[in-house]
Subunit: 296 residues, 2 copies
């Protein structure tokens, strides 16, 4: 499909794109830019034909498709190199988790001759690094692709994600950031704060309470173990998160009032209503109905 | 071990106690009190020797060990029957999730001749009813047993839980309610509120955003699908929950401030700190290190 692909940044997501591209034979040659020594050693083991580079220079001018999978805070350093070395017909995408900020950055900093069409594959895990990458990471998962006037290039990006298994949907940056502030960013932020609350309590009480973690705390701890650089970049770059926190706080306060007043009817109606989302998620096959008694 | 066991209330937990007791041959005869017709039919299928009763009357005076596994709000109706019909040497326990309220109820309402030693097995699932019960539900899970002056009876309760696989630890009611307000009750309460926030957003935005749920929302939806009667009883009966909510809200507000001020150092330190709890939980074998890319 592409003669030469370059993956910039090869952690969990980058190496999964790498593995999936090799698996689906989407390129004759795959170049990987990664500076982390430990990561480089892990990448070498994936496939002996991978061309590892540690400089973004003349070599990248031959590329047909560039996928940026670094933390978003690295983009500022990468864009000047792309401006200097890429040919005008190179197609660029990235996999960042917030889109309005990157749309702005592209508009301000990327050379007008270049085409960057943003993607956001909705997949990941609590672990980081290329050794955890997985060629099936994107299989049957959504990949949000940001609308673009260049229909020809847009189609190429869509086809790429479809070929590695994604279900594709188009959004504009604003829409994307609103939706994911609620379905992904807020849950992570809440998980981090819940874990901190348990830690604070433990410190105050001088008791090892974490050992009594039931299913609830266990799952939150998994979510709160996600990569901190990636999540810093998300929390700093999605303005909708503040709105989401405020909406959540409003609900939490009214819940607290319901408990304090022992308002039976209101509490039962709230608790029952939540089950509807579970039903939806099972229908969407985002989880299995089989009860979870703890992972073994 | 016991000649006759009676299980009062036979949902997920009661039927798991039932299955485990049959499996470990802990009683010659097991009686089950359950009024729900659907549940009764499911219980009959577990084992043909189970004696199903639908009235707490003279028949229960022969019991040696009574395990109450109804929602805690039922206890007020059950205690008068125990007072009338049980012999003074019958041992009573229950599996409720808050303990100070039940300690108070026992003190006020239970006949002084009877012995009720409280238990709380830390196990459960998002599903309810006897068909989901599991003889291994308690295996290697904590069971908190509330301290009691009657060491002889206490030993019997401890042995019972150990025989069906639990790890046992003694606490007093206050200690128990403090610990579980943070490790179990707060996470559930937060999950319910997060799901409600997603529902509110969906309603407001008239968009089906739930379909884009990533791992975070998925796991929260599981927790928020737990039995509403059980959780109403917990939320209404653990005073420490309000304290836990306040501690959480304080953390959430300072997190919001960190984001607003783009305080890089503070945010990274918070996010990295959370990983320590994950490490603890993995060391405790409450979860597996294998990355979670979604349940299949």
């Amino acid at each position: 499909m592409f003669k030469k692909i370059l993956i910039i940044g090869c952690g969990l997501i980058g190496s999964s794109v790498l593995r999936a591209s090799i698996n689906k034979k989407l390129s004759k040659k795959i170049f990987v830019f990664e500076r982390n020594k430990k990561y480089r050693n892990q990448i070498k083991k994936i496939n002996k034909n991978i061309i590892l580079i540690n400089k973004l220079d003349k070599i990248i001018q031959e590329m047909n498709f560039v996928i940026i999978a670094t933390p978003m805070s690295e983009y500022k350093k990468i864009i000047p190199k792309l401006n200097i070395f890429l040919k005008h017909d190179t197609l660029i995408t990235d996999v960042g988790s917030t889109r309005s900020n990157v749309a702005k950055l592209i508009k301000m900093k990327l050379s007008k001759k270049l085409n960057w069409i943003m993607s956001h594959p909705i997949s990941g895990s609590e672990v980081s690094g290329p050794k955890h990458g997985n060629k099936n990471l994107f299989k049957n998962k959504w990949c949000i692709i940001i609308k673009d006037k260049n229909k020809n290039k847009l189609k190429k990006v869509i086809n790429f994600w479809k070929k590695i298994g994604s279900k594709v949907i188009l959004m504009n940056p604003k829409e994307h950031d609103e939706v994911f502030s609620v379905t992904s960013h807020l849950p992570h932020l809440i998980a981090y704060n819940l874990i901190k609350t348990a830690q604070d309590f433990q410190k105050k009480d001088k008791k090892n309470i974490i050992q009594f973690s039931a299913g609830g705390l266990r799952d939150f701890s998994r979510i709160a173990a996600s990569n901190e650089i990636m999540w810093r970049d998300i929390f700093f770059n999605n303005d909708n998160i503040i709105k989401a926190i405020n909406l959540f706080t409003k609900n939490l306060n009214s819940f607290k009032k319901i408990i304090k007043n022992k308002n039976n009817k209101k509490l039962l109606s709230r608790l029952s209503n939540s089950k509807k989302v579970r039903t939806q998620i099972l229908q969407l096959k985002h989880d299995v109905a089989k009860p979870d008694f703890g992972r073994e």
